[in-house]
C-alpha cells in the first residue's frame, strides 16, 4: 500500500538513503562497465554487430539457451514431483522433506560441483560401478561436456524450483481435491483437472526463477564443462580476464541483463510476479 500526500512523501524519504546507496555503489558501476561495450575498442555498436556476424558468439548464446532450457525443464519436473510429495505428506514428514530440500542450498556450489566431478569422471563412482557390473566396457563421457553441466545445474536448481511450487501448492484447498473425487473424478483426473491447473502459477514462477538463474551460471558450468562447453558467464570471464577484450565481454554481459529483464517483463504479464517472489498480496 502506498500512502498519499504528505505521508507518501515520508515513506519515500525513508527509502531514499538505501536508494542512494544502491545507485552510487551498485547501479552506477554496472552501467559504467556495461557502457564499455559501446566504447571499446572504438565507439559504436561494433561489438553488438558480432551477434549477427560471429559464429563463436552465436554458438555461445545458443549453447547457453539450450542448456538453460533443458535445465529448467528437468528442474521443474523433479521439483514438481518433490513439491507434490511434500504437499501430500503428513505435517511431520513435511518438515523433514523441506529440510532435505534446503540442506543442499547451504553447501557451497563449488563443493557440489567438485562432488559431481568425483562421481561422474572416467574413474568416478558411476563409471566404475557400471564397469564392474559389466554393463559398459568403456567409461561413459559423463562430465566435461553438456551432460555434466546439466546434471550439476539441475542439482543446484531443484530447490529453487521446489520452493515456489510448494508455496503455490500449499495454497490449494485440500477440500477441492476431496470435492473433485466426490464428484466422480479418479485420482488422476483430480490431478489433471484441479491440482495441476491450480499449481500453474507456481510452475511459471519456478520456471522463470530457474531460467534466469541458469542464464548467468558460472561456477558449475566452468567446473563441469571443463572449458570445452562454454556458457555465457564463462565466456564473458574468458573475454575480459584472459583475452582482455572488454568491449566484447561487456557486450555479452549487457545481453545477459537484457535477456533477464525481457524474461521478467514477459512473465510479469502472464502472472503476478510480486506475489510469487514473496510480496504479500
Amino acid at each position: 500500500m502506498t500512502g498519499t500526500g504528505r505521508a507518501g512523501v515520508g515513506w519515500w524519504l525513508l527509502i531514499l538513503p538505501a536508494f542512494a546507496l544502491l545507485l552510487a555503489f551498485y547501479i552506477a558501476p554496472i552501467v559504467q562497465v556495461l557502457a564499455i561495450s559501446v566504447t571499446d575498442p572504438e565507439p559504436g555498436l561494433g561489438n553488438y554487430e558480432r551477434i549477427f556476424t560471429s559464429g563463436a558468439v552465436q554458438r555461445v548464446i545458443l549453447t547457453t539457451l539450450r542448456i538453460c532450457a533443458i535445465t529448467t525443464v528437468l528442474a521443474l519436473l523433479l521439483g514438481y514431483a518433490i513439491a507434490y510429495a511434500i504437499t501430500l505428506a503428513s505435517p511431520r514428514a513435511r518438515g523433514w522433506w523441506v529440510l532435505a530440500v534446503l540442506v543442499p542450498l547451504w553447501i557451497s556450489v563449488l563443493v557440489r560441483a567438485f562432488a559431481w566431478v568425483t562421481l561422474l569422471r572416467r574413474q568416478g563412482l558411476v563409471n566404475n560401478t557400471l564397469m564392474n557390473a559389466g554393463m559398459i566396457s568403456e567409461p561413459l563421457p559423463l562430465v566435461w561436456n553438456e551432460f555434466g553441466i546439466i546434471v550439476g545445474m539441475v542439482h543446484y536448481m531443484v530447490p529453487f524450483a521446489v520452493l515456489p511450487m510448494l508455496a503455490s501448492m500449499r495454497e490449494i484447498d485440500p477440500r477441492l481435491l476431496a470435492a473433485a473425487r466426490g464428484l466422480g473424478a479418479t485420482r488422476f483426473e483430480v490431478f489433471r483437472r484441479v491440482f495441476l491447473p491450480l499449481s500453474m502459477p507456481g510452475i511459471i514462477a519456478a520456471g522463470v526463477l530457474v531460467f534466469i538463474f541458469s542464464l548467468g551460471f558460472y561456477i558449475t558450468p566452468a567446473i563441469l564443462g571443463g572449458g570445452k562447453t562454454l556458457m555465457v558467464a564463462e565466456w564473458i570471464s574468458l573475454q575480459i580476464l584472459d583475452l582482455i577484450r572488454w568491449g566484447l565481454g561487456t557486450m555479452m554481459a549487457t545481453m545477459l541483463v537484457v535477456a533477464i529483464l525481457v524474461t521478467l517483463a514477459v512473465f510479469s504479464r502472464v502472472v503476478d510476479l510480486r506475489r510469487i517472489f514473496g510480496a504479500g498480496g
Binding site: 477440500r175 476431496a178 470435492a179 473433485a180 473425487r181 464428484l183 479418479t186 483437472r193 491447473p197
Partner: protein
C-alpha cells in the same frame, strides 16, 4: 433430473476409531427413499465423520454402509455417485460456474451436447442461468452455495450429501436458503443427508433428525416428535431450550405419575402406551419454557408454582423470563408478548402454571 426415485441408505453398526478415540461408535441408521435426514450434534459429535464415511472419504473401522441393500463400504468416493455440497462449497476457483457444474459430467465422459443440456437444466434449477460465465469469486455466498448445489445434482446422484451447507451464510440468507433447500428437495425427490449443528436448520428442513453426541446416536425421529418427546436430557437441551426438574416418582399409574420434590408435587401425564417409571425411583422432567403460562388471579392449572421475576428480556415475539421459585429453584418461561398487557419488572411476584402433559420425563445422559 426427471427421475424422481430416491435411494435408501442404511448404516449398520458403523464405528470409526482413531487410535483409542471413538469418533463414531456403533451407529445404525436407516435413511428412506427420498427422505431428508439431518445429522445434528455439537462439534465433535461424529456427525461429519458419518457423512464422510457415507461419502467414502473415511473408511469405517467396523460396520457396513448399504445403498438399496448393496454393500458400498469398500467403494472409493468416485465410484459411489453421491452428490456432495462441502462446507465452504469447495468450488473450483479456476473454473467458471458452467465449468464447475460440468465437472462431474466431464469426468464421466459425457458428450458436449449432453453436458450442455444437463448443465443448463441444473443451473435453471437453482436459478443461476445468468451467472454461467462468472468465476466463483465473483459470486455472493448464497450464489456460490447454489452453484455447489447445481454441481452436486447435475449428474443424477444416488444421494445428496450436505456438509453444513448454510454455515457460512448470514442469518437472514440462511433462513431463505433453508426454505429453498427444502423446496429443492421436494422438486428433485432425491434422498438428502444433511449435517449441521444448527438446531433451527435441522427442525425447519428435515423429514427426520438423528441426534448425535460423543459419536453415539442418541435419538432419531421426525422433528416434531424429537422436540416434543426428547428421550434424554441432552436431546431436550440441544434441540430447543428446556427446564429440568428432578424428584422422586410417586403415585405411578398407567398414563401418568406425580413427581415429588420437597414440598411440591408435580402432575405428569404420559402419552398412550408409555410405561410410567416405578414408584420411589428418581426421575428427571424436561419442561419447555414456552409451555409455561402466567396464571391470572383465580385461574388454576394442573401444576401451579409461585415465584418472582429475576430478570427478563424482550424478544419482539415474546418475553423470556427467569423466575426464582422457592420450590423448584430458577425456572425459565417464554410468554407471547402481543396477547397480554404484561409488563415485567424485576421482583414482580408471578404465578406459573402448566399442563400435566407439558413436562416430559427424560433420562440423564450416560456419562
Amino acid at each position: 433430473m426427471s427421475d424422481a426415485r430416491g435411494h435408501a441408505l442404511s448404516l449398520r453398526e458403523v464405528s470409526k476409531h482413531y487410535g483409542s478415540f471413538a469418533a463414531v461408535e456403533r451407529v445404525s441408521l436407516e435413511v428412506g427413499q427420498g427422505e431428508f435426514l439431518t445429522l445434528l450434534g455439537p462439534s465433535g459429535s461424529g456427525k461429519t465423520t458419518i457423512l464422510m464415511a457415507v461419502a467414502g472419504f473415511v473408511t469405517p473401522t467396523a460396520g457396513s454402509i448399504l445403498l438399496d441393500g448393496a454393500d458400498i463400504t469398500p467403494l472409493p468416493p468416485e465410484k459411489r455417485n453421491f452428490g456432495m455440497v462441502f462446507q465452504g462449497y469447495a468450488l473450483f476457483p479456476h473454473m467458471t460456474v458452467v465449468e464447475n457444474v460440468a465437472f462431474p459430467l466431464r469426468v464421466r465422459g459425457l458428450s458436449r451436447a449432453d453436458r450442455d443440456a444437463k448443465v443448463r437444466a441444473a443451473l435453471d434449477l437453482v436459478q443461476l442461468g445468468q451467472f454461467a460465465d462468472r468465476l466463483p469469486k465473483q459470486l455472493s455466498g448464497g450464489q456460490q452455495q447454489r452453484v455447489a448445489l447445481a454441481r452436486a445434482l447435475v449428474f443424477d446422484p444416488n444421494l445428496l450429501l450436505l456438509d453444513e451447507p448454510l454455515s457460512a451464510l448470514d442469518k437472514k440468507l440462511r433462513a431463505e436458503l433453508q426454505e429453498e433447500l427444502k423446496a429443492l428437495h421436494r422438486r428433485v425427490g432425491r434422498t438428502f443427508i444433511n449435517v449441521t449443528h444448527d438446531q433451527e436448520e435441522a427442525l425447519s428442513m428435515s423429514d427426520r433428525i438423528a441426534i448425535l453426541n460423543h459419536g453415539k446416536l442418541i435419538q432419531h425421529g421426525a422433528p416434531g416428535a424429537l422436540y416434543e418427546r426428547p428421550r434424554t436430557r441432552f436431546v431436550a437441551d440441544f434441540l430447543g431450550k428446556s427446564n429440568f426438574l428432578d424428584g422422586t416418582v410417586r403415585d405411578s399409574r398407567p398414563g401418568g405419575f406425580a413427581l415429588e420434590n420437597g414440598a411440591s408435587r408435580l402432575a405428569v401425564a404420559l402419552p398412550d402406551g408409555e410405561a410410567p417409571p416405578a414408584d420411589g425411583t428418581r426421575s428427571l422432567l424436561s419442561l419447555r419454557p414456552e409451555k409455561i403460562d402466567l396464571l391470572p388471579e383465580g385461574q388454576s392449572a394442573d401444576n401451579v408454582l409461585e415465584g418472582r421475576v429475576v430478570s427478563w428480556a424482550y424478544l419482539g415475539t415474546g418475553f423470556s423470563l427467569r423466575i426464582a421459585t422457592e420450590a423448584l429453584g430458577e425456572i425459565r418461561a417464554n410468554l407471547p408478548a402481543w396477547r397480554s398487557a404484561f409488563a415485567p419488572t424485576e421482583g414482580l411476584p408471578v404465578r406459573l402454571g402448566w399442563d400435566a402433559r407439558a413436562a416430559v420425563p427424560v433420562a440423564e445422559d450416560a456419562p
